[in-house]
Symmetry: C2
């Protein structure tokens, strides 16, 4: 597999970039997590989502424990290079609560 040039991606002062995970089919936003350069490299290489856990301070492969893997269809970066959209086909819910998406509650109270 060819090495992807990551120079377009701007990691912040913690070495992290926010990654928006989106269902490649429905367009639903599933979660937001953080990637460092290593986890982004693993994501591109293995076509599964890898993140950096800010609380546990370790790499994590989403779904490795739960079985709810996210298969990567595409990784987009924004005009400033400081945010990513990762389009995925998910084997199960994104949220640890069992909800399909972590964004299941509204602030507006209008849903």
């Amino acid at each position: 597999m060819a090495t992807t040039d990551l120079s377009a991606v701007q990691f912040d002062d913690r070495g992290l970039v926010p990654a928006i995970v989106q269902d490649a089919t429905s367009g639903e936003v599933l979660m937001l997590a953080w990637m460092n350069e290593e986890s982004l490299g693993l994501t591109l290489e293995r076509k599964l989502t890898w993140f950096w856990s800010r609380s546990r301070k370790e790499l994590w492969n989403k779904g490795a424990t739960s079985g709810n893997l996210q298969h990567v269809a595409d990784v987009l970066y924004d005009c400033d290079g400081d945010a990513l959209v990762v389009k995925v086909h998910a084997d199960g819910p994104a949220c640890h609560t069992g909800e399909r998406t972590c964004f299941y509650r509204s602030l507006g109270g209008e849903v």
Copy 2:
């Protein structure tokens, strides 16, 4: 207009939360920007997107200059309360480059 309870939202140590702006109709992710408590309050109250500019260190109303306002249909928060999805109907492109979305380039080279 009722005051919305923002206590579910976890602002980071800079007082900010990432806001994913999504087209309410197409589901396309348009941009990621940052909100502080004041800009989130303005967004909910005025039903237009307000952000905190980390570089300029000031509030900004998206589209106030360009005319490309984003009309807010809903604001969702995630399971941890530390990320938002703002669903909008946009009057024009989200990106300063003129692209409809800021996420118009792929890292995978497979688009």
